[in-house]
């Protein structure tokens, strides 16, 4: 489809409600980044001239801001290309260094693909991985975690906030358990950093992954927190000039690093107020869509991160819903919208039945979402739910009192 054709369909741009996928750059972050593209373009590792020094200053300032947000020491922050790289570094790096004696990894079925895939890779390298189940609301049961730990467990990897359903894990409680058992604790903080309070000391976190473009920073930059006291060692993913204390070779992209730093600085100041504001908008959506429309179910927990609301609209398939509400930019756990035609594994882990998984829509709101946009979204959703249900044979059957789960379908 040409751009003209796409523009014709959506004459105004859709309302953005996919904040878990990515966030727009905060204009304040953009201002901080700008000088490092055209004027202060030096390589931050150039030790011998002003171009290098001023770039280095920007990097170190950013490092302090990132560290401050999670109560870490700046020396414990390593810049990477993003949370995917950081997650790979964490799993493979720990396994590489300590893997002789410790050959067991514990993670959760609802982790991000990169964590699960890195773990699967380690299985091919001779490690054993336990993928823990979660409760219906997405939370990890701490007794189940305790029971899974073995003498040869290397690391427990649990994300702070789930990207699909917004469930917040009890990181402090998990950290207490891992510390007691002498096991490393890694947390993918991509959706948690700058959104909920995280304290690596209080929570006994040893390694953590951070993403820039989830907190109104630029894409292409992230960080990994690596504890120094007691010292955690990671095998580097690739070789080179030994930058970032030998953890991550490569020239740092100064403007991106500066951007991540500024995004972190802003997040620290605005996090509490933003959470409150998002909670109000979340509750408005919840009341209108969950309470206000019949047969709409929440996937995840009611006390999850308010910027994320994942709903299943029974009797309506997700992709048709996405097409119908294309005035809203949202995403779906429906099979049709994933390349593999398989519904979301996160919803599957929650025990959400396949039919309801096919009907799920994730609404992601954030810093720049206005109340008007939420009102408009509610209107769009309500109208189209009505229209799609009028077209749905399953809705008819439900209205007729037929139990859909009891029918023998002639599947193809």
């Amino acid at each position: 489809m040409t751009n003209c054709e796409i523009k014709k369909q959506t004459p105004e741009r859709p309302i953005y409600m996919d904040y878990q996928a990515t966030t727009p750059l905060d204009p304040r972050v953009f201002e901080v980044m700008k000088p490092y593209f055209l004027e202060k373009f030096g390589n931050p590792h150039s030790r011998s001239h002003q171009f290098g020094w001023e770039a280095e200053d920007a990097v170190e300032t950013a490092r302090e801001h990132v560290a401050a947000l999670i109560n870490a020491d700046p020396k414990e922050i390593i810049f990477t290309s993003g949370a995917t790289e950081s997650n790979n570094m964490a799993i493979k790096g720990l396994a590489g260094f300590y893997g002789d004696k410790k050959k067991h990894i514990i993670t959760v079925q609802t982790e991000h693909k990169c964590v699960l895939d890195a773990c699967r890779h380690m299985e091919m390298e001779g490690f054993e991985v336990t993928y823990l189940p979660v409760e219906k609301d997405g939370k990890l049961n701490l007794e189940v975690l305790k029971a899974a730990i073995r003498p040869d467990t290397l690391v427990v990897s649990v994300m702070g906030v789930n990207n699909e359903i917004g469930t917040i894990q009890d990181l402090a409680a998990i950290g207490k358990i891992t510390r007691e058992h002498g096991v490393f604790f890694h947390s993918d903080l991509a959706q948690a950093f700058g959104k909920i309070p995280v304290d690596v000391e209080a929570m006994n976190i040893d390694v953590a992954s951070i993403s820039g473009h989830k907190i109104y920073g630029p894409k292409g930059i992230g960080a990994i927190y690596v504890r120094r006291r007691p010292r955690v060692r990671l095998e580097a993913l690739f070789n080179g000039g030994g930058q970032e204390r030998g953890f991550r070779s490569g020239t740092l992209p100064t403007p991106l690093v500066a951007g991540l730093g500024e995004a972190a600085r802003i997040a620290k100041i605005e996090m509490a107020d933003e959470f409150k504001r998002l909670k109000k908008l979340h509750d408005k959506l919840y009341n209108a869509l969950v309470k206000g429309i019949p047969d709409v179910f929440v996937n995840g927990s009611k006390d999850g991160f308010p910027g994320n609301i994942n709903l299943s609209f029974a009797y309506i398939e997700g992709e048709s819903m996405l097409m119908a509400i294309r005035g809203l930019a949202v995403s779906s756990g429906s099979a049709c919208t994933s390349a593999s035609l398989e519904p979301s594994y996160v919803l599957h882990a929650l025990g959400v039945g396949e039919e309801l998984a096919h009907t799920s829509i994730r609404f992601g709101i954030g810093r720049f979402t206005t109340e008007e946009e939420v009102d408009r979204a509610i209107e769009i959703v309500k109208n189209n739910v009505e229209k799609l249900r009028a077209m749905s044979p399953l809705w008819d059957m439900a209205q007729d009192g037929i139990d859909i789960t009891k029918i023998e379908w002639a599947a193809h």
Partner: protein, 127 residues
């Protein structure tokens, strides 16, 4: 994944959405697919005494392409004989809607829905 204009048109301007009385002997009802697969099509035909499809209605639980495929199917079979309707190929539906490869199965289900409705009518009328 931008949406094809033809597919959107079938949703924005629905034609033949509805239901007919399943118990009526002139009505054939086809129900294909499964909710677990994300695709369920119900296609109904009203057949005249001389074997012409007078009217057709559909309801679909499925993606935009599935809705459009079943909608188009009801448009095409109206006015045809049962034998003619049975000849409709999914490839024709897919081509008309410009369905991408990943959505071809939607057109296959629509073809199945037509056949299923015709088979149901024939069974009811022992033809």
């Amino acid at each position: 994944m931008a949406y094809s204009e033809k597919v959107i048109d079938h949703y924005e301007n629905p034609r033949n959405v509805g239901r007919m009385d399943e118990s009526d002997s002139h009505i054939g009802t086809g129900l294909v697919g499964a909710p677990a697969c994300g695709d369920v099509m119900k296609l109904q035909i009203r057949v005249s005494d001389d074997g012409i499809i007078e009217d057709a209605k559909f309801k679909t639980f499925g993606c935009g392409s599935a809705i459009a495929s079943s909608s188009l199917a009801t448009e095409w079979i109206k006015g045809k004989t049962l034998d003619e309707a049975n000849q409709i190929k999914n490839t024709e539906i897919a081509q008309e809607l410009s369905l991408p490869p990943v959505k071809i199965h939607c057109s296959m289900l629509a073809e199945d829905a037509i056949k299923s409705a015709i088979a149901d009518y024939k069974k009811k009328n022992d033809k």
